[in-house]
């Protein structure tokens, strides 16, 4: 049983009961991060800040938003944008952060892939991160529906319809998801619930898991070097700070992160004030109209690559219809990155530029996903359909075939050298 003596200060009183000193050490001053890192390692803090902005701006928006198909559009575009004190600012911040957060997520993901930070004990970091990607996607999709503009409605129509492609239960599933035979008031209200309650709760839980999963294997470094964290931490604590290969989260790591965050916030607020249309599509400022299909229906930019994989297969093959092939490919595209630690068959943890063929594979993947993203927005006609098709095939080939082959070869070479 703990000993409680008379405390001489509020801090001491709290420390006796909450172990503040120890907690600060565990979470901050003795949480060790490798020293050999670059600014890409600051994306976690940037993401956390973006999530906080989304949460706080979301709370303010929630006070005036009305989840009703008759009221939603005006509650956003009139009440919030025009009547509420600084409502326009909260909405712009929320809308732009929702878009920009995906840019940072993609940078974060590609950093992980480039430096091999998904293997050798770091599998759970990668998996929890991928779970965050999926829940963020669901959060973004449900949020996009709320202003009840034209694209809110039609994107909801098209995306919920996709579930109809699931064998046997498809049709019933679509109705179950929509809460009606078509996208309607019930759909809006349940996606509102998902957006403001269930998904944020799940996301916060997974963020906790993601942070926790870093504790045992530790953060990777620029060279993929295996570091004895205990020994290096001792060096640092002994004052041999220059020699130690690790730094504490507070204040050394965070001081760099805050600088990166500051630069990022300049970029972010520039977008909020002067360049927001990319994140707040003008077409969504037309109220939802089920009788009027927009000439082009497309998702937000961060979903375009997987959307293009869905559209890429535009012709029937034997008994399989184009729609079914596309759906299967789309399904694969959405889960394939979860398997990254196992598709990569090599034990080598090193930056891509030290891994030969993997280096080439990395850039081909990046370029292919950018091509998919761009062609995901273009009208799928003529040559565009074929570019989409080849980019989709390339995407699946890169992950399902090329990656295991390249890394198996690498594993052989590494085994031979050892």
């Amino acid at each position: 049983m703990a000993q409680f003596e008379k405390a001489n200060s509020v801090y001491e009183w709290l420390d006796q009961r909450l172990a503040l000193t120890k907690l600060t050490k565990v979470l901050m001053t003795e949480y060790w991060i490798p020293k050999n890192i670059n600014f890409l390692w600051a994306m976690g803090v940037v993401l956390m800040t973006m999530f906080k902005i989304l949460l706080i701006s979301g709370i303010f928006l929630l006070m005036y938003y009305k989840p009703d198909t008759k009221l939603a559009f005006d509650s956003v575009n009139y009440t919030i944008m025009q009547e509420v004190w600084f409502g326009w600012l909260w909405r712009h911040m929320h809308g732009v952060a929702a878009s920009v957060v995906f840019l940072v997520i993609y940078i974060h993901m590609f950093t992980g892939i480039y430096y091999g930070s998904y293997k050798r004990g770091r599998e759970m970091i990668w998996l929890s991160g991928m779970l965050l990607f999926v829940t963020f996607s669901a959060e973004a999709f449900s949020g996009y529906m709320l202003p009840w503009g034209q694209m809110s409605y039609w994107a909801a129509q098209v995306i919920t319809n996709l579930f109809g492609g699931i064998p046997f239960i498809g049709d019933e599933l679509v109705i179950w998801i929509r809460g009606n035979f078509y996208v309607a008031d019930a759909t809006l209200t349940r996606f509102f619930m998902l957006h403001v309650l269930l998904l944020p709760l799940v996301i916060m839980g997974i963020i906790g898991l993601h942070f926790y999963s870093l504790r045992i294997p530790h953060v990777n470094n620029q060279e993929g070097e295996e570091i004895d964290f205990d020994a290096e931490a001792e060096k640092f604590k002994a004052g041999r700070k220059a020699e130690a290969k690790v730094i504490p989260f507070w204040p050394v790591f965070i001081s760099k992160d805050l600088f990166v965050l500051g630069v990022f916030m300049i970029f972010y607020f520039y977008l909020v004030f002067y360049h927001y249309n990319f994140a707040m599509d003008p077409i969504n400022f037309d109220p939802a109209n089920p009788m009027k299909t927009p000439p082009h229906i497309y998702p937000e930019w961060y979903f375009l690559w997987s959307y293009e994989v869905l559209r890429g297969f535009f012709f029937d093959v034997g008994p399989l219809s184009a729609m079914d092939i596309g759906l299967m490919a789309f399904g694969i595209a959405n889960v394939i990155f979860f398997l990254m630690p196992w598709l990569d068959r090599s034990p080598v943890v090193a930056p891509a530029h030290k891994r030969g063929p993997f280096f080439i594979w990395f850039w081909v993947l990046l370029v292919d996903m950018i091509v998919l993203t761009i062609w995901g927005k273009l009208p799928p006609t003529g040559i565009n359909a074929w570019i989409g098709f080849f980019a989709s095939i390339t995407f699946l080939g890169l992950l399902l075939v090329a990656l295991p082959m390249i890394t198996k070869q690498e594993a052989k070479r590494a085994g031979g050298a050892a």
Partner: protein, 308 residues
């Protein structure tokens, strides 16, 4: 240096993606059209100098006031908006500001052959005549008489027209602007009883119904059009709707460039009411984060000095 190289790569790929999904994709999705010039070159000028006094006489004798009001000259509307829409499909415009808002060449053309000047020949013909008849003159030289009427309208027009006035006259008899309390039958007054409210709504519904019969569809509320279409698109659309939306029921209204800008200004005042606030707050927030980043950099340098 390595960090700057990495930053350069990140920025490069971000910009390529941005370029692809925004400017490039939009250029592929939307057909290109020529920007508005407001020259109305398809209309041949009359080449006559109008006389406003004679114009006033012709205006009084030609029956214009049978349908149009000229409130600035104490000529009231013969019917209320709903009754007018029942007769003509849409409430005819008041002509007090016409000389200031509309291009004189266009005004002449619209007097002589309204459907043609409005580019609505695909909707109106001998079997379905346009509600306003062509003007065939009161006995003298037709072109001279038309020039006189235009001169008269210009002589009574105010020097300055408010942005809202321009919108109400040119657009507001077909389009609601509910975020500024403007409806096709006029502004919604403060209501004391539910009955009054219901009566107003009934009148609005009746007008909308007549408008729908006339145009085939109800023109949209324009409250958020400045955000959904943008300044340039609206400008080009007003100058010649057919050019951008072929076959639309919306007439070419013949606004001058200046009056068009006024309409867009009004739409901006309503749909993007916080623009000024946004533009004045922006630099302050950016400045805050520039200072934040500089201080953070100084702190980082201080902290990292020991660990290098």
């Amino acid at each position: 240096m390595r960090e700057l190289k990495i930053l350069g790569v990140v920025i490069l790929f971000t910009l390529i993606t941005y370029w692809g999904v925004e400017p490039f994709a939009h250029s592929q999705m939307h057909a290109h059209h020529e920007p508005a010039t407001f020259k109305y070159e398809d209309i041949t000028p009359l080449g006559k100098k109008g006389n406003p006094q004679r114009g006033a006489e012709i205006f009084a004798n030609a029956g214009c006031t049978g349908c149009h009001s000229v409130k600035s000259q104490n000529l009231p509307a013969p019917m209320d908006p709903v009754a007018a829409s029942a007769s003509y499909g849409v409430n005819p415009p008041d002509l007090s500001d016409a000389g200031a808002l509309y291009d004189p060449k266009y005004l002449a053309a619209v007097i002589k052959n309204p459907a043609h000047a409005m580019k609505l020949d695909h909707k109106f013909n001998e079997n379905r005549p346009f509600p306003m008849p062509n003007f065939y003159g009161v006995g003298g030289d037709l072109d001279q008489e038309v020039a006189d009427i235009v001169a008269y309208l210009q002589s009574i027009a105010p020097k300055e027209v408010e942005p809202k006035e321009a919108f109400v006259n040119a657009c507001g008899r077909c389009h609601d602007m509910k975020y500024d309390n403007w409806y096709v039958i006029g502004p919604k007054p403060k209501m004391d009883t539910e009955l009054e409210e219901a009566q107003f709504n009934l009148k609005h519904a009746e007008y909308q119904e007549n408008l729908k019969k006339y145009l085939g569809t109800n023109p949209p509320d324009l409250s958020m059009y400045i955000r959904s279409r943008g300044h340039e698109y609206i400008r080009d659309f007003i100058e010649d709707p057919q050019k951008i939306l072929h076959g639309t029921a919306m007439p070419r209204v013949g606004l001058t460039e200046e009056a068009t800008e006024k309409v867009v200004t009004y739409m901006e005042n309503v749909g993007d009411r916080k623009k000024e606030k946004r533009e004045s707050l922006g630099p302050l927030v950016l400045l805050y984060f520039i200072i934040f980043a500089l201080l953070a950099y100084a702190w980082k340098q201080k902290v990292w000095r020991d660990v290098h």
